[in-house]
Amino acid sequence: MGVAITGMGIISAIGHSVAESKTSLLAPKSGIGTLKHIQTKHSDQIKVGEITLSNADLTTQLQLPKDHNYTRTGLLGLFAARAALQDAQISAISEYRTGLISATTVGGMDMTELYLKQFATDPEAQKYIQSHHAGDSTQKIADALNITEFVTTISTACSSAANAIMLGARLIKAGKLDRVVVGGTDALSKFTINGFKTLMIQSDDHCAPFDANRKGLNLGEAAAYLVLESDDVIAKEQKQVLAFLSGYGNANDAFHQTASSENGEGAFLAMTKALELARLTPEHINYINAHGTATPNNDLSESVALQRVFGSHVPDFSSTKSFTGHTLAAAGVVEAVFAIIALQEQTIFPNLNFKSPMPETGLKPVTSVVKIEVQHILSNSFGFGGNCSTLIFSKA
């Protein structure tokens, strides 16, 4: 059946908990809006999926000392990871071999970009020198949760969290861990806003994935984590299972550093591998949570790959990035949480802002909240560097 998921925690632009996320998805209510927390020249020309809580709010809620050197990435990560453990009703960490695998792309960039020119002289700023590297947020989360042994960080651009979930599942299956907290965290930063600006793939309006006239993506920030546990722990502790991770696939497009290939080869391979591992055929998939960034290149390439895998019977699909924005390293796990909510509620979520299908494929995503029977959900995450990953979640 796959690897059992027993807990989840999330913070994104559409809510600070699983319950709030569910409310927004069912409303449906997008979290995309105007940038508030970051000072940038581009504020008026972009829309973002920003979390309303400031760093000070997060510090208070997490009961951290005021002089801490958490970056926003670390704060968001701890917030969501703690919630995931609570949801799984885990308090005694050391009872079982427990690991943490977290994903990030920006790491401590949100502080580095503020303080780089003060690092030499300002003692207040210097505490952030050591928090620049990508492993820092993970180390802090591990320490706060008392996870002492298997701890690591993955960074494969926008497929990062999907790969973190995948590694966790493989370690459980191999019997190397009894349980593992898997997910990712990425804060918005001036660095990524300007980076995507140079690539000219950021929309000045609410993003419209899979639409013929899509103008690009909205950046977002989020952190989310799942708790995976072995069958032995589930049996012994009589744990309630939220859903199963039944398949996963990782492939590389090997086409271009940032662009996806025309035939969506990497995406096709990742989806095919995941289906094989789950021992499912395409017709078993009831809903696809697409990568769907709303860039012209990704959505076309992904659509072609979907048609290659599913032929003329592409299942109901949507991109929930129209709710959260593209949360980069966290996207894979944010959308994993949404997939689990969909399995629990037997409801699929709309692709907001869609008007007309792209002429190349004619594919139409789901545009309203729909109650359907959902047994298996396929979720895609693709990144720069050709990194393509697919996860399949199945009903408990």
Binding site: T148, T152, T153, G195, A254
Partner: protein, 337 residues
């Protein structure tokens, strides 16, 4: 569960380790705050057009990967897995400084595109047109070890037969100068230069002379608990402390070196080696020690500059690698000939 073997090992470091078929005969002492690697002739491995856009780490990584595949007589690996502590810090600093310097105007995408942590793994895949499993680990001093552990898992579980795995870090200029400054402000700080390099390996489930028996990582441990961890690790692998011929430790002279002393006391008559005084400290420096172990086991010879204490042995069959950074991110790697 399949066994794991090392088929090739290639290293670019501050020493002449890449071009030479020797083994540290022409060792040069290193000093100063930072020490760059001895770069190979990139033209032998990368087309000049592509090379121009690549930062140091990408060029080192692609070259080392290419030679590791060649030495293992492998054209297409079943997986490409890299580890990097600081990622593409040159391009990161470049893009960051153009944002600051030009007040967010007139920016070009090249540095941003090449600044993502998975650039090395991506460029290797692109060069080989390799569509296989591809992953990048970025967890400080466990970056390379995480990559190796993933490779071990793929091979043991028969998800792959031949895996290309490597660790790479480039110095950059700005962040490293601040890190050095903080280190030097502390009398108990790191006593070797900061360095850079790339070490790549082909690991395989196909039997060869040198076996990667097992490895383990641990995020936090005290000097006492690390002894227990090691005992547990050796027990799991049915290895006695007396079986270890050589210990290669990641000593860098800072206040956390007692962790190495703590491990060292478990062995009665060890040959203990160090290496960071030859290549510098960086998050993936430990990948150099795996290259060193591979050469020692193959050649049955230990170059003098590597010896920290003890005598060199006539027959070397089992080597243990131990590394940590600032008292955290501990790793054990056990190799056997």
């Amino acid at each position: 569960m399949k066994n794991v073997y090392l088929h090739s090992a290639v290293s670019i470091s501050a020493q002449n380790t890449f071009d030479s078929d020797g083994f540290l005969e022409d060792m040069k002492p290193i000093s100063g705050s930072t020490v760059p690697a001895q770069y190979p002739n990139y033209k032998d491995f990368i087309a000049p057009m592509a090379s121009r856009r690549m930062a140091t780490g990408v060029k080192m990584g692609v070259s080392a990967a290419s030679k590791a595949l060649y030495n293992a007589q492998l054209t297409q690996p079943d997986a490409i897995i890299t580890g990097t502590g600081m990622g593409c810090i040159e391009d990161t600093e470049k893009f960051l400084n153009s944002i600051i310097g030009n007040a967010e105007e007139f920016l070009t995408p090249t540095a941003f595109i090449q600044s993502t942590h998975n650039t090395v793994g991506a460029q290797i895949a692109l060069g080989l047109k390799c569509k296989a499993y591809n992953n990048t680990y970025v967890h400080a001093a466990l970056s390379f070890e995480s990559a190796l552990l993933d490779a071990q898992l793929l091979l043991q579980q028969e998800e792959a037969k031949h895996v290309l795995v490597g660790g790479v870090d480039e110095l950059g200029t700005e962040i490293i100068s601040h890190v050095r400054h903080m280190e030097d402000a502390n009398t108990n700080g790191i006593q070797v230069p900061f360095g850079e390099g790339a070490s790549f390996f082909v690991v395989s489930s196909e039997a060869k002379a040198i076996q990667l028996v097992d490895m383990d990582i641990c995020s936090t441990a005290s000097e006492n608990t690390i002894q227990q961890k090691l005992n547990g690790f050796l027990n799991n692998n049915e290895v006695q402390a007396s079986d270890i011929d050589v210990l290669i430790a990641g000593r860098n002279g800072d206040v956390f070196d007692p962790y190495y002393d703590s491990i060292s006391t478990l062995f009665k008559n060890p040959t203990e080696l160090h290496y960071k005084h030859l290549i510098g400290e960086f998050y993936t420096a430990s990948s150099f020690s795996l290259w060193t172990a591979f050469r020692i086991l193959n050649r049955q010879h230990i170059p003098k500059p590597l010896i920290y204490k003890g005598e060199t042995k006539s027959k070397i069959s089992t080597i243990l690698l131990y590394n940590q950074f600032k008292g955290r991110d501990h790793s054990f790697i056990l190799l056997k000939r």
